[in-house]
Assembly symmetry: C2
Homo-oligomer: 438 residues x 2
């Protein structure tokens, strides 16, 4: 039987609905991919009594308890104190962590910051490369109140900011749990492979993959899970086997079967981003890109440059919010703007051609639209977005009708534009003919 792990998220802001508990989902994915059992998640506020109660409950029923949050410098950050109390031990300053904190914030450090370097006696530190608060790992016997029986338990305390939590979960915590499961004789090597899809919905992808999934259910060894973000589907394969090599050997034929069914939508593997993957297709074939965007306000450029190495292919991104900028940077004709309007197929084409010419790029991509909540016309209401693409073979345009609030319209406009650009980059002008631009 595999290890049983559960999580406790700590933070009144979660119970007030001020932030979403994305950390719990990230942890859950890692546990699923490791083949570990995960039966409960809890959330409690910054309250000593309720956190103590919840920690006892979790330690009574799970081998490993991961706490999320409550490692900050303030008085309502209680997690380490409560953990120490439940295990009947004190807190001690972890000197290397305290030195690191002083090194990072220097004269700005307050007495509160010293609390961040405290850990329960006999605990180990899990390095936090991003933030100040070290993680904590305490493996110790646990006795429930009123019980004499000592249970072998592990508590792992991680910080709440997702940019600190994420790398710690995916790195040292995943490694520790794999080793722990191995050491306790309850483990297997785990290998994963992610295929990232754009332009297809999760339910359609799953429908196309249903025979693969049914085969896997029968044969065991490899699991397939789909994760959907708006406009992006991840198909994740995870294999368990005695060794990593055997696990990899299990993965390969399954990946081939998946690609045979959804291959046209696969834009990358293992953490690829749509922007980075799209730019890479262009730059690997010696082509360059320039972008002009208005309603997306810089997000199209930001997606394209999120991965390292973007500078080779990405010559210019122009956020041409005002008409003056559209004229100056994308050389859009003032008469065209007056006649067709800044949100029009003609403007999108002109922006794409203008920005391409401006820096001599192979391809120009342009987005102009109404992201809302204000703006729009009767013919082109909020959510209408025009995309233009200019290339050596010609110029094309598309009209999108997108739903959602301002942030959603911006994000979807970026995704649709990138998918369209990727089709051009992969399949060339043939893919851009009218009737082919779905």
């Amino acid at each position: 039987m595999a290890l049983v792990v559960e999580s406790i998220a700590v933070g009144t802001e979660l119970l007030l609905g001020q932030i979403a508990n994305t950390n719990a989902q990230l942890l859950a994915r890692m546990l699923a991919e490791q083949g570990l059992h995960h039966y409960f998640q809890s959330t409690v506020g910054d309250n000593r009594e309720r956190l103590t109660q919840t920690l006892h409950l979790a330690l009574g029923r799970s081998d490993v308890v991961v706490t999320i949050g409550g490692l900050g410098p303030t008085q309502d950050d209680l997690t380490k104190e409560v953990v120490a109390g439940v295990f009947h031990r004190g807190l001690v300053v972890h000197e290397p962590s305290w030195e690191r904190i002083r090194g990072r914030i220097g004269a700005a450090s307050t007495p509160n910051n010293r609390r961040q370097a405290e850990i329960p006696a006999d605990a180990e530190v899990i390095a936090n490369e991003v933030g100040l608060a070290p993680g904590v790992l305490l493996a110790a016997p646990y006795r429930a109140p009123g019980s004499e029986e000592a249970l072998a338990r592990v508590v792992i305390c991680l910080p709440g900011p997702p940019n600190e939590f994420g790398p710690m979960v995916r790195g040292p915590v995943a490694q520790y749990l794999a080793a722990l499961a191995h050491g306790s004789g309850r483990q297997a090597a785990i290998q994963s492979r992610s295929l990232h899809l754009a332009g297809v919905g999760e339910s359609k992808a799953e429908h196309l993959l249903q025979d693969v999934i049914a085969d896997l259910d029968r044969s065991g060894g490899v699991t397939l899970a789909t994760y959907a973000k708006p406009g992006d589907v991840e198909v994740r394969l995870t294999a368990h086997a005695p060794t990593a090599e055997e696990a990899q050997a299990l993965l390969r034929p399954v990946e081939e079967a998946v690609r045979a069914r959804v291959g046209p939508w696969v834009y990358g593997t293992d953490g690829a981003t749509l922007g980075g993957a799209t730019l890479r297709v262009l730059s690997e074939t010696g082509r360059t890109l320039a972008v002009a965007e208005s309603c997306t306000g810089g997000e199209l450029s930001a997606w394209l440059t999120a991965d390292p190495g973007a500078s080779a292919g990405f010559l210019l991104g122009a956020v041409t919010y005002g008409d003056a900028a559209k004229r100056a940077v994308a050389a859009v004709d003032a008469g065209l703007l007056a006649e067709d309007g800044a949100v029009s197929a003609a403007a999108a084409r002109a922006m794409a051609e203008g920005v391409r010419r401006q820096v001599g790029a192979t391809v120009g991509l342009a987005v102009t639209g109404f992201a809302g909540p204000e703006g729009g016309t009767a013919a082109d209401p909020v959510g209408t977005v025009y995309v233009g693409l200019a290339a050596p073979e010609g110029t094309w345009d598309r009209r999108l009708t997108l739903r959602g609030d301002r942030a959603a319209v911006r994000r979807r406009a970026v995704q649709e534009s990138l998918q369209w650009l990727r089709r051009y980059a992969v399949d060339g002008a043939a893919a851009m003919r009218p009737g082919n631009d779905g």
Copy 2:
């Protein structure tokens, strides 16, 4: 004392990390807005024993328990069965719901669908206008196992699909809980106020506010909590009182006391964004902005245009990744790029001046740096970012040393640049003199 409500999300897909538990956050927000207490959230899989155990725990400590999910037609949808069992009653078919389901799916209905019309005896139905599964409301005495004491409890069962859950929570469930709180004489009005701070850490902010917090702890009625996102601190005040007016009256002097201590860092209130607030300071005083950015790749522009109404003040954002673009759009001299390099104080100043001139903006802001993981020099390693600001009174530059991965360096460069721009926008050139650029 207000009603105590807690939630139990039911679904193995949550524990596998396949979907995010956005429903729990939506419910939490509604409860906070109603001034109801919310101390615990739990998530369990589609497992009879563990759901029963969690429901007993919740009923033992909260007045109202809201379950989320597990109302579907399949055998692993157990919620109503478990609720009925915990209250020692059977399930009965709610005929109007069964008629509605047959009317909706007709010949496609299966015996399983009939299960969706079942509710615990004596329960009421909460209408689901979107999907098939009705919600359930059971108000009944609850006896813990082995206890004779009957506790007055309410269980509300809601479906998991967010497009069904959302309208039910915001509509009938919110109304029911308001009426319940009113009828039980335990209602209080709740009012909140958020102050958003940039340029100060959470621990320093809390240190400066410690006397205010101590006063509030003594006097009661108002609570103060700080929430930190990277580079951004929210100070949230929440007041409880018999009426909304009284709660607002409690908030006002506390907000004044907070502003007296951390006022210089407050950039906005109640959901403001740093980019939007900074741009607003400029545009409200008739000034315009143009931006040139390289290592931030479009994120600086995206932050500045995240709020509606950005077009008035934001003339141009230029993502000048390559040197050709720096020359073409920001009119940066090729000799300067050759001599000082594209990542230099001189380049940042020239980009700021160039982009400002390009579109005739009042202020030009430029960012150039090494976001990593590759690049950098001995003198300017990865994480080094230069910011330039050009205004009618002159041009200034700053050098930042930022830590973290590529995404973190980009985000921090944006935040630091915006904070610096905001200082100029609020305090003018006097704030920009050397020695004042902390």
